[in-house]
């Protein structure tokens, strides 16, 4: 019962693939909302990895970590969306390529 039915390598691979899908989403899309959702995907990939290793090593520190990551992700999503709203109010657009005020 201690051993997992699915080898750990599978979880690692899956996590990596989802992570890079999230990366592609951040870099390729211009809609900031989609970018934030891609970031959530990346968080989830990491969470999956933690949970898998927690099960493999029977160490619930992994669970704790996932909990903390979820909390922080929630806070970050909230603030990110607030920023999007603020930018929209002043610039009337949220296209990530248009809002390039830091160009220098």
């Amino acid at each position: 019962m201690t051993l997992m039915s699915v080898p750990l390598v599978n979880y690692i691979t899956l996590s990596a693939v989802i992570f890079f899908i999230g990366v592609a989403g951040v870099v390729m899309r211009r809609n900031p909302l989609i970018m934030l959702m891609s970031i959530e995907l990346m968080f989830n990939a990491a969470n999956l990895l933690f949970a898998a290793f927690a099960r493999a090593w029977l160490n619930n520190a992994g669970h704790i970590f996932v909990f903390l990551v979820i909390t922080v992700a929630a806070a970050e999503a909230a603030i990110g969306l607030a920023i999007v709203v603020t930018v929209f109010r002043s610039a009337r657009t949220v296209d990530a390529d248009e809002v390039a005020l830091m160009k220098g």
Partner: protein
């Protein structure tokens, strides 16, 4: 170990006599315009004070003491410590006493003379300030007890010479001459500096006492190098071949300057140096050969060139060069008393010759070319007496001062075993007599040629003749007393010129020899084939021959009546090699001046704008380029920044994959 050469003590007179001219110079510099005409008497009084001080130190300077197995001669006064272990001090012994007496004594007479000669000049006070400064610098040179003080004095004397040669700075020829003199002197300074380094590396001390105490312990090649370096300095200052080219040009300065600096004192600094470093030279016969030979050659070349000059001051300049060649030859071969004796007598008669020619120049309203003189025997009888006695002294007529000293030098070369220098010395004596009598005959005999058209006399550039200042600058009227200021000092010098030589009469027991008994090393000499008396006789015969030739060419009745034609012939047919002074100037110009100028042009046109400036500009450009490169990353696009972040993260992944996964 610290050796002292003189008796240590406290000698306030010494310090006073040394610093008095400096004080005079400072006062004259600062208050020159206010002092006006009284600057002259003030400057002269200062030098008189130093002279009196020197006389007062006679007994201290000649004292000797044997203490602890070391013979101490003279007086030593420590001034201050420069760095721990190196003391600066003043030192006076018979050698420097002699030099100090000439500097202050003859200097005083020349200062008085200048009051008359420079009368009416706008920069009257500045002249005396510079002259006082010169006396101070020369005293520093001869009174120092260490090489560095000597070098300081050496440099300051060069500076004073620069000031005084270029005194009439609105004349471009004077400025050029001053610059030339200074540059050649710097070559000598470098030689002495190198010698100081060499001495220090062996002895770890800079004072004369320590350097000479270890004289026997230097390795022979090293000692030769030291002597060579010192002699380069001496040659530059004393106008020996090949560093002599500045001396004829230095005649651009006022005549008193020529008399004091370029005849009696500054140019003899080289002689002083060799005489002072006698312990070093006595140990190394190669150095002695070198110095003696150069001295002899200079004497001969100077005499030959003196036969080809027409400017009265240039004749005297070349004669100075020749006579200093005698002095250098004397101290070079080891006949120290002879060389120094010649310095002593030369100071008097050369100063007299220069000051007398100054009287002539002044009377003829700044005419310096002898071709335009003539018949002055009746017009300027005093000048004739002055120059006449000077000519007799320099020719070495027995009884006059020059005879005794020149004879000592010539015999000294034979006694120390240099037969070729002996012959050279006698030959040069004859030539000296010839051209000096030529000077006298052309200037004073015949009829006055001032009204003759210059081209008839063979003068190609009459506008360059008579290059004193009065033509270009208006000046105040001469006062009536100006003439007396010029006459009295010359009158004082005449008896010295005639009679001073007799203190050297008597060989070993003469007052002269006894004065210098402790000063110089006296190696045992082999007996010579020709005795001193016979040497004197041979020299006298050769001198008479020279005078005879001059008489036949310039002083016979027919020569006097055909003077204009004869002078024109001689001027036109003067060999080019003589009129270009053996092409020394041309050689230096080619070797050093042009190459330096070319180097300067290269640096100025290519190296500086392109390489050095280019490097600076390149730095700015590369900084700008780097900035532009970095700026291209700041697109402001979030996606781009995110991509870069991911790239970095990917690098981390790869790294950990390799490290953690691959290398196990």
């Amino acid at each position: 170990m610290h050796h002292v050469m003189g008796v240590d003590g406290y000698y306030p007179t010494l310090i006073a006599l040394w610093l008095l001219p400096l004080a005079g110079a400072l006062v004259l510099w600062a208050f020159g315009p206010q002092l006006r005409r009284s600057a002259g008497p003030l400057g002269s009084a200062v030098i008189l004070g130093s002279f009196v001080g020197t006389l007062m130190l006679w007994s201290s300077a000649t004292q000797h003491l044997s203490s602890g197995g070391v013979d101490l001669v003279g007086a030593h006064q420590t001034l201050f410590s420069w760095i721990p272990g190196f003391d600066f001090g003043l030192f006076i012994d018979p050698l420097s006493l002699l030099w100090a007496l000439i500097i202050t004594g003859v200097g005083f007479l020349i200062h008085v003379y200048s009051i008359g000669y420079m009368d009416g000049d706008h920069a009257f006070a500045r002249f005396f300030a510079y002259m006082n400064f010169f006396v101070f610098a020369m005293l520093t040179l001869v009174l120092s007890d260490n090489f560095v003080g000597l070098l300081v004095g050496w440099g300051l004397v060069g500076l004073a010479s620069y000031f005084l040669i270029g005194f009439w700075f609105f004349k471009p020829t004077a400025v050029a001459a001053a610059r030339k003199a200074f540059v050649i002197n710097v070559v000598g300074d470098v030689g002495i500096m190198f010698a100081i380094f060499a001495i220090f590396s062996s002895v770890h001390s800079l004072s004369f006492a320590d350097a000479f105490a270890y004289a026997g312990s230097y390795s022979t090649p090293w000692l030769f190098v030291i002597c060579l370096a010192l002699f380069i300095g001496a040659a530059a200052k004393s106008a020996q071949i090949p560093l002599h080219t500045w001396l004829p040009d230095a005649m651009e300065g006022p005549t008193p300057v020529s008399a004091l600096i370029h005849a009696a004192t500054m140019v003899t600094a080289g002689v002083y140096l060799v005489a002072r470093c006698a312990p070093l030279w006595s140990q190394n016969s190669d150095a002695q050969v070198l110095v003696g030979t150069i001295g002899g050659l200079t004497a001969l070349v100077g005499a030959i060139l003196g036969c080809a000059q027409w400017d009265i001051k240039r004749i005297l300049a070349y004669s100075t060069m020749s006579q200093i060649g005698y002095m250098i030859m004397g101290v070079g071969v080891g006949a120290y008393e002879g060389g120094v004796a010649h310095f002593f007598t030369h100071a008097f008669f050369k100063a007299q010759l220069f000051l007398g020619s100054g009287i002539i120049i002044h009377a003829l309203h700044d005419e310096q070319d002898v071709r335009r003189m003539g018949g002055l025997l009746r017009r300027l009888p005093f000048a004739a007496v002055a120059i006449g006695t000077g000519v007799l002294a320099i020719s070495g007529i027995p009884g006059f001062s020059g005879f005794f000293s020149k004879d000592q030098v010539i015999y000294g070369t034979l006694a120390h075993g240099y037969a070729w220098l002996y012959v050279l010395g006698i030959l040069t004596a004859g030539i000296t007599a010839y051209y000096m009598c030529r000077l006298f005959f052309v200037t004073f005999l015949g009829s006055y040629r001032g009204a003759v058209d210059p081209s008839d006399l063979g003068m190609r550039h009459p506008e360059l003749a008579g290059t004193s200042h009065h033509e270009t600058e208006p000046h105040e009227a001469h006062s009536a007393n100006a003439e007396w200021f010029m006459i009295v000092p010359v009158a004082i010098l005449i008896p010295f010129t005639v009679l001073i030589g007799w203190i050297m009469f008597g060989g070993e027991n003469s007052p002269w020899a006894r004065f210098f008994a402790e000063q110089f090393p006296h190696p045992a000499l082999t007996a010579t084939a020709i005795s001193e008396g016979v040497t004197g006789l041979i020299t006298f015969v050769v001198v008479l021959a020279g005078i005879g030739i001059a008489y036949l060419r310039y002083a016979t009745a027919s020569a006097q009546s055909n003077a204009v034609a004869r002078l024109r012939d001689e001027s036109v047919h003067m060999p080019a090699i003589l009129s270009n002074a053996f092409y020394f100037d041309a050689a230096f110009d080619l070797l050093f001046v042009r190459s330096s100028q070319a180097l300067g042009r290269f640096f100025g046109r290519y190296l500086d704008p392109h390489v050095i400036d280019g490097a600076v500009r390149e730095t700015a450009i590369s900084a700008e380029w780097l900035g532009t490169l970095v700026r291209s990353f700041q697109t402001g696009l979030v996606r781009a920044y995110a991509f870069i972040l991911v790239f970095g993260a990917a690098c981390f992944v790869v790294y950990y994959a390799i490290v953690a996964g691959g290398l196990h």
